[in-house]
């Protein structure tokens, strides 16, 4: 990147918080996805005012700015697809205010998700969105990607827990949208911004809702000898109108990989397990647990175990949340998909995924948020083998297409990012794109923020498209 730009960045944030040496930039060319893109510089602002000055500087030089939290995203959302300045928010990590009485907190975007809950634990409160990466991912990243997690089944995704934002637009102007209360006069700009994947504005301050911890929690592990029985159990639990706090499924192949690594107590010889958590008043949890156990047994569960204490419960969750890490022991890389389908169609979707795995000769594991119909098939592959990589991408696209065919969507919680931008036409018409583009341009008219995301490359910002396409050609995966 031009030295004058680097000097300009250093004059704003200080020399020690700007990176531009190739060996430093290497660390920022990837996130949790299979995508790669190297930024021209990395900068770590400490304040909203610095963010504003950086985007003004970038605008003067026609350089895009890409916001980034901890880089744990799974769709390439925080990668500099067309190069540019990667703005990492890890130094804006202050919890600015905790309002216990009104169950709100005001935080900077770099606050780690898990740290938010720890900071309010003493008051019996917590921040509900709990992605698997919650011990490292940031609330800013959660907001821009509208992150989910296992417990969103009962409590909703990030957008349900954000009431106000401070924004910096590409011209450096600072706005506040939403309100501490949540009701706001006028259009729900907070609702629009959450999940906008950093393509509209940079978020520099977030007001979140805090929930009160439940009085009673019961975690059940239902063990099945047939995958169909497990998936039909999920459909039946939903149909019976039981709403667990979480309802996760691991198929046999996945749970064996996890058990080898974590020793969570998953049975090695089963075809699938369901991890079902019930929360609420003790009286409510007791009756729901009875209902869940009845459905499990109706669908031939071999056994339904109940975690006896917090230690057993934590172990089961450790197995679930570290499952993707366990996959690293089996193959050089894995492609974690994120499709979403109507919950009543889980059994047929799992059968279809199995067929596709056989067709493309991949072992595809399934570990997912069954209660939401949010599938996470995992395709193991070796990225050093271009043919295998290509096949992995093809089978993944076919699975996502199938999700859409049966009434689902492209992504339940990982975002579109770079990964799925070319699949967007499966769901959206040219007219839909045209409106989305107009809304995009209302905030970010020159594509100065996070270019090359969400929109298919031929339907995004006109002037950035050739640049993004050139970048893709120069840096093929």
């Amino acid at each position: 990147m031009d030295r004058s730009v680097i000097r300009g960045l250093e004059s704003i944030v200080g020399a020690s918080t700007v990176l531009d040496r190739p060996e430093d930039l290497l660390l920022y060319e990837y996130d949790g996805s299979v995508e790669k893109a190297r930024p021209g510089a990395v900068v770590f602002p400490r304040s909203t005012e610095q963010v504003s000055r950086i985007v003004r500087l970038a605008a003067q030089h026609d350089i895009p700015v890409i916001g980034r939290g901890a880089g744990t995203g799974l769709s390439g959302g925080a990668l500099a697809r067309t190069g540019g300045i990667l703005m990492v928010f890890s130094r804006m990590n202050g919890i600015l205010e905790i309002d216990v009485e009104n169950q709100r907190a005001v935080v900077q975007p770099g606050v780690v998700n898990y740290e938010m809950s720890r900071a309010v634990e003493h008051a019996g409160l917590y921040f509900a969105p709990d992605p698997s990466s919650q011990k490292s991912c940031t609330i800013g990243g959660n907001v821009l990607e509208n992150a989910g997690g296992p417990h969103t089944l009962a409590y909703g995704v990030t957008s349900n827990h954000v009431t106000a934002l401070e924004l910096v637009l590409p011209d450096g102007e600072i706005f506040r949208v939403g309100s501490r209360h949540g009701d706001t006069l006028g259009y729900d700009l907070t609702g629009l911004l959450v999940g906008s994947e950093g393509t509209l504005a940079l978020v520099t301050e977030i007001t979140v809702k805090l929930l009160r911890k439940s009085e009673s929690v019961k975690t059940l592990l239902a063990i099945f000898d047939r995958v169909d029985d497990a998936s039909e159990t999920v459909a039946e639990v939903t149909a019976r109108a039981i709403t667990p706090a979480a309802c996760e499924m691991l198929d046999g192949w996945t749970l064996r990989a996890v058990e080898d690594f974590i020793h969570a107590g998953f049975p090695m010889d089963s075809a699938a397990v369901l991890l079902i958590e019930l929360e609420g008043l003790a009286e409510s949890v007791a009756s729901q647990a009875e209902g869940v156990e009845e459905v499990c047994r109706m669908h031939h569960a071999r056994e339904v175990r109940v975690a006896r204490d917090d230690r057993e419960r934590d172990l089961l969750w450790k197995g679930r949340k570290n499952a993707f890490g366990a996959m690293g022991r089996l193959a050089p890389s894995n492609y974690t998909l994120d499709g979403v389908i109507p919950r009543s169609k889980i059994p047929q979707a799992l059968r279809r995924i199995k067929e596709l795995g056989e067709k493309y000769q991949f072992q595809i594991g399934n570990i997912f948020h069954a209660g939401d119909g949010n599938l996470h098939p995992i395709v193991l592959f070796d990225p050093r083998d271009p043919a295998q990589y290509q096949k992995a991408v093809e089978v993944s696209a076919e699975i996502i297409r199938y999700c859409v065919e049966i009434g689902g969507a492209l992504t339940g919680e990982h975002g579109v990012g770079m990964e799925k931008s070319e699949l967007m036409p499966l769901l959206f018409s040219d007219a839909d794109f045209e409106l989305m583009r107009r809304v995009h341009d209302a905030f970010n008219p020159a594509c100065a923020l996070n270019p090359g995301k969400i929109f298919p490359l031929n339907k995004g910002c006109g002037e950035i498209t050739p640049r993004a396409q050139a970048a893709v050609r120069a840096n093929p995966l």
């Binding site: 009104n102 506040r176 949540g182 009286e283 009756s287 919950r343 409106l435």
Partner: protein
């Protein structure tokens, strides 16, 4: 009359046929907003017809207001231009309903009460428990942004609206979101439509998450002589493991409206009513064991916080009270010729200094009614007995006091319903805010020709 607005009805007929257009004054009066009567009404029977009508309006530079059953057209400022109404009550089908998946896709013009009946057959519901329930459409309930009583537990429409189909200002049928309960594909444009008063697009179809009907439900009504005790009671409940469906706080005057809300005016006032005192109504749901737990804990909290009296209601009595609470805003809208209802959203929703609002009205000799939801807005209805210049002057002073009060509580206030005369001297949306600039840009993205209800929304939109 300029040529562009001449013979609107006749020109609309050429677009969607004479059977779908009304041009008689008697037909158009129903669609009047603050005394402005449109020249025609287009009654679309399909989303495609809606699109055709909007394209016509954009082409001819006409302004239209999308309408359902017209129960909340009084919200907002009078439109600067209003050539014709676009009635979407002809769009009234359930397009898709998968009870096993708890998801639903319904046309915007379907009645909310009618939808509740269909869902009720499957023991499910959509928690849009809003005033004008039996009279309004699903689309109107969402586009008006009117607050649902059950939001305390179920949240607002933005928490369970999964997606929408709509016609934008260019007359193009577009969509946002989907029909699945978890979805981050593309921008959540449908969230912008909630509370947009039809200024961005005409909603044609809405996808909702549905919820299981409760196995059982009940109400507590607790009576308090002072506001501090209510705050104490509310905080005790908030810090407990209880998660009530609704938590409504009523000033003495609001409680009287509630007590008198019944079909048979001659029957005695309900046993829970205590004249001159504040009332708190808490609803809860669950199994018998859960209902017992609520009764035990809420009774203890009421006693400990110094309630003067309390009573639990179940079955039909609880249902009747819930219905009356839901319609309280509706009752107040109809309570006099000059009534003005302020909506204040701040935290806490019901602060102990709420009495300042009453003092403000008393100083101006305006009778008033207060009620609030613990996690929703606070409503403050001012009821001057007559509508004259003095009343409007006093109400304008009151409005500036209320806007100041909201700002002091880091909140926002607007006037939800008021006479057109007051709107001539007060902007019901309160003082201009900086984010109004962003809203104007969003409006332009959706409706570049300014076809939809120009001037009705805040920031001059």
């Amino acid at each position: 009359m300029s040529s562009s607005v001449a013979n609107v009805a006749g020109r609309l007929e050429s677009v969607i046929g004479a059977a779908h257009v009304g041009g008689e004054a008697t037909q158009c009066e129903k669609y009047a907003i603050d005394g402005v009567i449109p020249a025609a009404v287009a009654m679309a029977a399909s989303a495609e017809e809606v699109a055709e009508v909007v394209r016509f309006a954009a082409r001819e530079k006409l302004a239209l207001v999308p309408c359902g059953r017209c129960t909340k057209l009084g919200i907002g400022m009078p439109p600067a231009r209003y050539d014709f109404a676009l009635d979407v009550t002809g769009l009234k089908q359930i397009a898709y309903y998968d009870p096993a998946d708890l998801t639903l896709s319904v046309d915007a013009g379907m009645g909310l009460g009618q939808l509740a009946e269909v869902l009720g057959e499957q023991k499910q519901f959509v928690p849009l428990t809003v005033p004008f329930f039996d009279e309004c459409t699903v689309g109107g309930a969402v586009a008006s942004g009117i607050s649902s009583m059950l939001r305390h537990f179920y949240g607002t429409a933005r928490d369970f609206l999964l997606g929408t189909e709509f016609v934008n200002g260019a007359g193009t049928l577009t969509k946002s979101g989907g029909r699945v309960v978890k979805n981050v594909t593309g921008y959540d444009l449908h969230k912008l439509l909630i509370g947009s008063l039809g200024t961005l697009a005409v909603i044609t179809r809405l996808n909702f998450r549905t919820f299981p009907s409760p196995q059982g439900y009940g109400h507590l009504v607790a009576v308090f002589s002072d506001v501090d005790a209510i705050v104490q009671f509310r905080n005790m409940v908030a810090k407990s493991p209880l998660a009530p469906d609704s938590f409504e706080i009523l000033g003495p005057e609001a409680a009287r409206y509630l007590a008198e809300f019944k079909e048979d005016r001659s029957s005695p006032l309900p046993s829970w009513y205590a004249a001159g005192l504040w009332h708190v109504c808490v609803s809860f749901e669950g199994t018998e064991a859960v209902l017992r737990r609520y009764s035990t804990d809420l009774a203890r909290f009421a006693q400990q916080s110094g309630a003067a009296n309390f009573e639990f209601l179940d079955g039909p009595r609880s249902e009747a009270l819930g219905g009356a609470l839901r319609e309280l805003l509706n009752l107040l809208v109809c309570s006099g010729p000059a009534v003005s209802i302020f909506k204040i959203s701040s935290l806490p929703a019901f602060p102990a200094d709420v009495v300042r609002l009453r003092e403000l009205a008393e100083r101006l000799s305006i009778p008033c009614v207060i009620f609030a939801s613990a996690s929703g807005p606070l409503y403050f209805a001012a009821q001057p007995p007559v509508l004259d210049g003095n009343a409007i002057g006093a109400m304008a002073q009151l409005a500036s006091g209320v806007f100041e009060y909201a700002t002091a509580h880091r909140g926002q206030a607007s006037i939800l319903f008021c006479p057109a005369e007051l709107k001539r001297v007060v902007n019901v949306w309160g003082p201009e805010r900086k984010d109004g600039e962003l809203m104007r840009r969003v409006k332009k993205a959706f409706d570049p020709e300014n076809v939809f209800a120009p001037g009705r929304f805040l920031a001059g939109i």
